[in-house]
């Protein structure tokens, strides 16, 4: 199975990269872009078939390494594929 981990900056933490992306899109004529947040996606291929147990392990991975919870939030999406 697969876990998709989305890591991004917490609300209120200045995201200069996101701001620059939004400004650049505005410059290209996409005036409807009000803001952008830049994060990252980490795709994990996992062994085993107990999705619930696997998700709990992925939470642990996020807390221990994948996200810096001082500045970042994370969201996990589990997929059976």
């Amino acid at each position: 199975m697969k876990a998709l981990v989305y890591v991004g900056l917490k609300p209120g933490v200045l995201d200069p990269q996101g701001r620059t992306i939004a400004r650049s899109l505005n410059d290209l004529g996409f005036g409807e872009v009000e803001s952008a947040l830049q994060g990252k996606v980490i795709e994990l291929n996992l062994s085993g078939d107990d999705m619930k147990a696997a998700e709990a392990r992925v939470v642990e991975m996020c807390e221990k390494l994948l996200a810096n919870t001082v500045i970042e939030n994370y969201r996990i999406e589990m997929r059976a594929e």
Partner: protein, 220 residues
């Protein structure tokens, strides 16, 4: 005093740190590979050097902070071991949870590489006792992720407890409260983005960094 410099893959100021420590202590520091699990007995001061450990993958300092030797240094620092991290070393110390906060991408998104003037906020600490309070020093900076951030409560506590030891006079990276260097609650773990180890010889352009090493080494 036996000192040590930790070497990670893609550390690049490990030699600068070693030269500084040898010049000031008269004794070669041990160079310790990150896969080691324990500091040799007798090491009294550890430097986490600058560089781009693990290519800054995931986050600057994140992977290095999970390496075996850092776990031992962290445990020993809780019992008083003196540790200093410069640049990437500072990022490693925050990622390891040995110092609060995080170092984020510079506000202007630029890699900043230049001599930077700092104010020594006070001389009542193990790392600044040789400086005059409110004096100015010049250390080089060279970083992309030096924008210090912590939540309001943490910054308030750092300020109240006098744990901000250096401030930028002309903030190069957007750091909150112009913070350039901080110390832990125990006063024995220090991190800063600028490079005091590159300001110890007239050929570096200045020698303001010497007193930082002398301050901490004198306490040991």
């Amino acid at each position: 005093m036996q000192t040590a410099v930790i070497r990670f893959p893609a550390s690049n100021c490990d030699r600068d740190a070693a030269v500084a420590l040898e010049k000031i202590t008269g004794r070669k520091p041990l160079i310790i590979w990150h896969r080691e699990t324990e500091l040799p007995a007798g090491v009294g001061f550890v430097v986490m050097p600058g560089g781009f450990s693990y290519g800054d993958y995931l986050r600057s300092g994140a992977i290095a902070s999970r390496s075996p030797i850092v776990q031992d240094i962290k445990a020993k620092s809780e019992r008083g071991l003196a540790v200093a991290g410069f640049c990437n070393g500072f990022q490693i110390l925050t990622e390891a949870g040995m110092l609060p906060g995080a170092l984020m991408r510079n506000k202007n998104l630029k890699f900043v590489c230049r001599p930077e003037t700092l104010t020594v906020t006070h001389s009542d600490s193990k790392f600044t006792s040789k400086y005059k309070a409110k004096s100015e020093v010049v250390f080089p900076v060279a970083h992309h992720d030096g924008n210090y951030f912590a939540d309001k409560e943490t910054v308030g506590r750092l300020e109240k407890e006098g744990r901000v030891l250096f401030r930028y006079t002309d903030n190069p990276n957007g750091s909150i409260n112009d913070i350039a260097g901080i110390v832990n609650a125990g006063g024995n773990v220090f991190g800063m983005m600028p490079h005091p180890e590159r300001a110890i010889d007239p050929l570096h352009g200045g020698t303001d960094g010497i007193d930082l090493f002398k301050s901490i080494l004198e306490t040991l």
